[in-house]
Symmetry: D2
């Protein structure tokens, strides 16, 4: 099998199924970590990598890479993806007025939330996407995710895993130095990723077990101009043709500051939907993060001239979830 | 003002209001970090502390300290505290059957959750508890938490803060070496905490900016015997008389493996409810964690003879929340 | 085909599949109202029946047949069936304190709810139960109900339908005149239903298009003694052998004051689950109501010696729902 | 006290507080039904009225007046008013595939919903609106609605009440015979209501205990053109000056086909919000319905030349709710 081209210009824009199939075959990791595997490329994170990453903590600064979780988010209800609804079951107003019935002057506030697990900053679990009815590691989708949730690869399996060296690739700043923002629809190529690494210098070298965070600048734009179509609309993002780069670098996970990780509209002239997800999640076993806030971190990294850090981004162990809201923190 | 006794035997068990008031006055930190403060004792975490903590990462092991988030939890509906309800909006079964209407063989699974923010492993935010209508830093409770949430000290303010040196005090193992489990109703004293530190050795020394995690063993019991009254029933936990210890050690935060942090039933013969919360949260500004799973970490620490580690436990930045579900990880 | 026995003593208690299959075949209404039908036996309600029922309104009394919808309900989380969680997004306390920011002294209170559609008084829709992968009218279950909901027979189709003559059969009072309560596990037979009708007199005659409400007395017991295992535990209810009665009477719908309509434990010595549902819903197309409060109505009917009334019980038109919370009202 | 003008031209558009106060004083019903009252004008429904209404059932037709409850609704998240999120906990796809683990071939589908109680067709309860911190019957708002819900006038109190004679006033058709739709911003006056009654004839006479449903035609427009700003934007609706008409007719309740019942923008040149609610709910004790679908009923009434019918619109008895989703049905 010859390797599929890494140049978007070579894509047959009328044939998504074939272009996807070729890349899926080229990067497929089924069986690589055994038949029972539930972690995919997260297996690349070895303990030594974490020790190496911890040594990057030199200032003791923590930067949250999470967007807010609240009703003022970008979601518009697509496939029931709404913004979080946070409500109080007890309030300070009630406590102050003496309505709560507790003894000795104690009062309390409590709250509940209802939200899609992918409403804001999150990890996609390995059960989130299927390729022709196949889930990660070659399992049948219906054996993995029923209405009871992900019975096999639920996000809870990653609860003690996702801490590693993080590397910020600020592609927005590298390619658009004036604005720091890629245009919607811009397809980031493997060449772009490599040139960003080269420009940023050795601290942004990417290798096995690293977690790569790619800043496009779209979230900065949304913050400035309003959400608009941030959720599901046109966006900069990774080209389908980066699949081989994602595979050969042996990264553990990757995240962007956009809704959908990959470029939108997708790179086809016929109906298509998230083709790089279809290659990366069920075939490669890659954990993907979306809707991260990378702007503050980007400023700090640029000032320091250092682009790697300890990244702590363990998901909530929601049993059977195919994704998890997270507050990833860069510690540096 | 003389300091209140640190011996539970001295408590006037008929006078919770007075006993609470004395301790509240003794530990009150209002104004200590300025009028606008929203972090309380989390301010004790200085950058150097995090650098020191990162140096504790020697093996590259990550241990999740989170219990599961699912419908099989301990909650029974008290004040609408239910267990999480996690449901799927798309499934693998549907994808495999071809019901989803996506192009080129891609399929997906997606999910939503409805849950109290304190249903499982969590941080109590500073707006969670009031003392006679007063919230942290002396604000009026009704100025802080309305039905719109915590307008001042919402948990989102801690999103880039809660990473520090963690210290496990395995009081259960120290006081009950045979079982490793304290009895329900056992009130942990400052003396118990100090004797645990002494027994465990220098790696468990506790000081400014540390996050202390106290293992009682009750969760191990619940895991073995069933939840029973884990949520709100009798439990081992900190005595009201530890308030001074919590204050003078200048710890940043503290967590236990129980539902309610402090001993239950509370240490009074008249109606009482969580008196140590009333002292610690609104007066001292202490962030408290509950329902942590400390059993796996305890085994590792005992084997290594080392009780401190890098603790990464940033909350989800849910705007205006008075608590947050978390997956705290010990990195060691 | 000979008709299956209507005597529970004749059931082969080791062979649920055969006993169910025989009855399913005997009562199957597939195609009776055309291939496109989405209403099943609700088709029996003809306009003239409603005019007849309206003529029963002689006193102008309305009796709600609904249990409460709140957190103090019987649900225990089985298959994520929890009690409703009702929370406020605005309160009177806030309004009174002036926290809401509205002009000219107006204030407001608002609320949200999260609940299973079958948490309290409800109708089962036709997509609620399947028989060997078949849904009502012979459709394949996977063509009808996906994670997008019931795409064919959703409860919204009954929004303008369920108003008819209601008939209360107070089997509890008839068979247990002292207590008015059948024992848990008591299987109501067709003979019991007929003897109740005979005892109550002509106003309880049951025929085409009627909605029958059967009082067992179990809810009165739960109200008095606490919920206990009301949700899913032992209960009086209809015997599997009543399937033929349900069919030949041509009733439109039926409801009981129990969690599960049919007798529990089910009438088999091997694992079995709701066999009468399996016969009645997908095969007969019968709409079934559960968890109704029939106690107040029973008192009134007994006093008047009249057992029929206008019953208005239209479901909420929740698109694609397989059931609906309702407040059925008897108007008499 | 002279009666406030019923002509919108007389309103002082710079003085909402005074205009509201004058009308609140003129229509205030506090104490009219005793100090303990929880029903307000619903008390006007006497049993004889229901018997009279039942006699209007001549054809046996049922018309649902409910809009759909689903994710494709008009809500945009204002004050956390979202559209309903309906999700499945069990599906037919799973049942057909054999994933559910039930015996003898039975399969099931089940579902949950999360929704604001005012997301679609609903009643406003008496605890929904306050006037200067006062709730219905002169109670203090904070004594009535806390974060535990409406402790006094919760919607559950109306569970056995709201069945009466309904009268449709198709103001849209009367004033705009070509389109049947009033323009957004059109303020319906008492004169408009009376002229509609006169034009429609004696079957639309309005008096004590009736429930009036006013069709503006805006929902027909939204159905045709898309929701746009249906939720909270400009709309036709009742003028503040109709308060006296609402009072002197002694109607039990009123509903419209719009989001907010009253005309929007409200009739002032300074910031104002729902002034007629402020008069009608806490002062008059009037139950108000919103977001009803009156188009089908309007066609039938016009064809028959009869505008009254039996209206059955009991709320779900959600304990402590300040509103309820409903499926009101006209039976005629």
């Amino acid at each position: 099998m010859t390797s599929p081209s890494e140049d978007p210009a070579d894509l047959d824009r009328a044939a998504p199924e074939a272009e996807i199939a070729a890349r899926a075959a080229a990067v497929r990791n089924w069986g690589r970590w055994g038949e029972a595997d539930v972690l995919g490329t997260l297996n690349f994170i070895e303990p030594a990598k974490r020790v190496e990453a911890a040594a990057l903590v030199r200032e003791g600064t923590v930067v949250s890479l999470s967007q807010a979780f609240d009703t003022n988010g970008p979601q518009k209800g697509w496939r029931r993806r709404t913004n979080p609804v946070h409500t109080m079951t007890d309030t300070g107003t009630d406590a102050e007025r003496g309505s709560q019935g507790f003894p000795h002057g104690i009062g309390g506030a409590d709250d509940v939330i209802a939200m899609p697990l992918q409403c804001s900053t999150q990890w996609d679990g390995l059960g989130h996407i299927f390729d022709h009815g196949n889930a990660w590691n070659g399992r049948r989708a219906g054996d993995v995710v029923t209405s009871d949730g992900d019975l096999v690869t639920g996000i809870e399996h990653a609860a003690s895993v996702i801490v590693s060296r993080g590397v910020l690739l600020d592609v927005g700043r590298h390619l658009e130095p004036d604005t720091g923002e890629l245009a919607d629809g811009y397809a980031i190529t493997a060449r772009d990723l490599e040139s960003t690494i080269a420009a940023q210098g050795p601290s942004s070298a990417v290798g096995r077990g690293d977690i790569v965070v790619v800043r496009t600048g779209q979230y900065a734009r949304a913050r400035r101009d309003g959400w608009g179509d941030y959720a599901g609309g046109p966006a900069p993002g990774l080209s389908l043709t980066t699949a081989a780069w994602l595979h050969r670098t042996e990264i553990a996970a990757i995240a962007t500051d956009t809704w959908g990780f990959e470029v939108r509209p997708n790179e086809f002239d016929v109906p298509a939907f998230q083709p790089l997800h279809q290659v990366a999640i069920p075939n490669m076993g890659l954990t993907i993060g979306e809707m991260w806030d990378l702007d503050g971190l980007a400023e700090i990294c640029a000032q320091r001239g250092q682009w790697d850090f300890l990244l702590s981004a363990a998901p909530l162990p929601i049993t059977g979830a195919v994704g998890s809201p997270i507050n990833p923190v860069a510690i540096l």
